[in-house]
Symmetry: C2
Subunit: 290 residues, 2 copies
């Protein structure tokens, strides 16, 4: 098992998700004591997007870290160049000098504090188990539908990489309760890293986790106009079971669209503002004991 | 008392406040039956901002309707020209051909369904009383610190003009519960207009209302950096009493800033995303029986 010596803590990958921006600035100003056995780099990933309070300037930075994108070349799109710069700073992705990247995000959905891991190896299972033990309100979401290196996320620049997703919080707003959760999550993760380095990771019995399945689109007309909204019975019910026959959308014509899948799923990212452009209403997950 | 024959229902004055945009589109598509004794105009005020899902392109459209701005002249700022166009369509402000403008907004603050009136005359008092009677969850906010015509708001293009403010809803998100409140508010207001025209407005005993007092700024460093967030005890407590000595801000250094005013005030627009740029943390109001 590799030991973790360098950790990059990243905020502002999306410029209107304020929690990580405030946290990284405060960590850089030494407002919190962090385990001193580790080397830290604090990074505001997309300062131009932060300055304009937008998710991105040209394209979503957090989808530009596919290996093919990171080979040096000039791009006309701001975030494609930025991804190369960040990859040189904290990567490179195929041979990184940063051991762990923690990238902090917010969502307008009611996902609560969520750790997203991209692989189901022992390291991530132990981190998830420790976090769940220390902070039971956290949700664990595994997105291992492709391999770690195939993911296009910024955190995959590191040898290990995770995302924190904290909500519900509107874009451009910073809530003190959500901020406090981010501080707590980062402190637990760093404590876990110390235990991991000392080979003192506790044993964990099985714990609850979710695995990404699919996305569900908003109902659209032939002209691609929105026909309705998330049903009130589903709104804010992230990580709660959605069963076939239960209401999913409330249409403007007064009718209701029910979920018609084959079995129970666990919706999340319900009504996430950033996914409106692609008409994604929510993602679904399976629940499992990890 | 003037009779009301023409009503403009406006959404998309801010392009990322989705409730009014959906409502205006659905009204224009005849999805709801409205009193047929009135003439309607349905307007998406800032289609370019709607298309880009931003509050505005150059400047806030809802601050460009001061009389001086509306005299014809070429401007380099998009919304200054747009204000003149809208003023010709539904104004002109000094001699309007629209009797009532209803402009629909969202806020990230937890203000619930709120009617904002800009004058305390009988017409607005009766409208407010009727709305409060029919839909007691509504808040009534009077902003009469300057005269109706001195306000720079789009709705002042009409002989009468009001704003609906609905929250909490993130920018770029549309919640079914908030949308349903907007439908209900508009229906009650139009029913009131019919009663007013028939001189059948009921008598109202005094009812609860709020009057705008002031705004409170976020704590900033000398370098204008944000020093903290809305205190968790104040977050979401719009229109609840804030007394001297109660917590107001939670600073990143761990300390708390208390409210130090002379008496109880009623905060609203608490943590409104759009006011971050001017470092406004919330507005205050007096509560009174109208």
């Amino acid at each position: 098992m590799h030991s973790i010596s360098s950790v990059a803590i990243v905020g502002g990958t999306h410029g209107n998700e304020l929690t990580g921006i405030h946290l990284v600035n405060n960590l850089a100003n030494d407002n919190y004591s962090l385990p001193d056995s580790l080397d830290y780099r604090f990074l505001i990933a997309n300062p131009d997007a932060v300055a304009t309070n937008t998710r991105f300037i040209d394209v979503d930075l957090n989808r530009q870290f596919a290996l093919d994108n990171l080979t040096y070349q000039e791009h006309s799109l701001y975030e494609l160049n930025l991804a190369q710069i960040i990859n040189r700073k904290i990567g490179p992705k195929d041979n990184p000098h940063t051991d762990l990247v923690i990238d902090i995000h917010n969502t307008t959905s009611n996902m609560g504090p969520t750790l997203i891991v991209l692989e189901s190896s022992d390291f991530y299972r132990n981190m998830s188990g420790y976090l769940k033990q220390q902070m039971p309100s956290c949700n664990i979401l595994v997105e291992d539908e492709v391999s770690y290196l195939e993911h296009p996320y910024l955190c995959t620049c590191g040898k290990y990489g995770v995302m924190l997703e904290l909500g519900a919080q509107p874009q451009g707003v910073s809530r003190a309760d959500v901020y406090a959760q981010s501080v707590e999550m980062v402190q637990h993760i760093l404590k876990f890293v110390e235990l991991h380095n000392q080979q003192e990771t506790p044993e964990f019995k099985g714990f609850e986790a979710y695995r990404l399945l699919d996305v569900v689109q908003f109902p659209l007309s032939k002209e691609e106009k929105l026909l309705g909204l998330i049903h009130p019975a589903l709104q804010d019910q992230d990580f709660k079971p959605l069963k076939p026959g239960q209401p999913m959308f409330s249409l403007f014509d007064g009718s209701t669209v029910e979920y018609e899948g084959e079995g129970t799923v666990y919706p999340h990212f319900i009504n996430e503002a950033a996914y409106k452009a692609s008409a994604v209403a929510f993602a679904t997950a399976d629940k499992f004991i990890w």
